[in-house]
Symmetry: C2
Subunit: 127 residues, 2 copies
């Protein structure tokens, strides 16, 4: 299996083990010194233990499904379909994989819905 295919498998395992709350399996995918960033809130967590606690504590009955995984050497991008009770949203997740195959960096974006600006109604349809 080449590096891209290992990265793809790691990215899919990351989501699947989160969805299953299989914390031992999930933690084993991460480097000890993994860095987790949420650029929208400018929050950062250093280290696997804190990142695990963040996920264990995360409120709500959240569920993750992969819409798309794009793997490329030691990088992956995950497009996720996230459901929390009746709400659904999309997430964009960027992964970096270290030389030993563990995840060294995770960057999450949680784009919120918003109303489109006026002036482009003639070009777009709403769905």
């Amino acid at each position: 299996m080449d590096t891209t295919e290992e990265t793809r498998r790691t990215a899919l395992d990351y989501v699947d083990s989160l969805e299953r709350r299989d914390w031992p399996r999930w933690s084993a995918l991460l480097a000890d010194d993994v860095v987790y960033e949420m650029p929208q809130t400018r929050e950062r967590i250093h280290g696997r233990d804190g990142f695990a606690q963040f996920n264990v504590d995360y409120p709500g009955d959240w569920h993750l499904a992969v819409r798309r995984v794009v793997a490329d050497g030691r990088y992956a991008a995950l497009w996720l379909d996230v459901r929390v009770a009746e709400d659904r949203m999309d997430a964009c997740v960027w992964l970096e994989i270290g030389a030993d195959g563990t995840i060294t960096k995770v960057t999450d974006y949680w784009p919120d819905p918003y109303e489109p600006p006026a002036g482009r109604e003639h070009l777009v349809e709403r769905y």
Copy 2:
């Protein structure tokens, strides 16, 4: 050049030609029936002409730089650094490439900053 490398080049050309407002070069990368979607506003544009007009009309002195490109067969994900005057934001762009090498679908996310929820200050640092 294999499919992934063609996709990578197309993704980088897409951003570079947008940044340069080189509309003929940008349009040539797109399928006639390209679909452009912005899931946050649930807006969709069908076809290259409308998508071109949307970009030509887009207000502000916007500038794009690639933070990361992840290419994988006929899919690419672009992590962009966007500047409009003094403002900066990130964008996550998902591309699909057709059998003829043109871009058939573009999905853009424009994640806005927000304040983090209370209760996780003990786990995170702000940056």
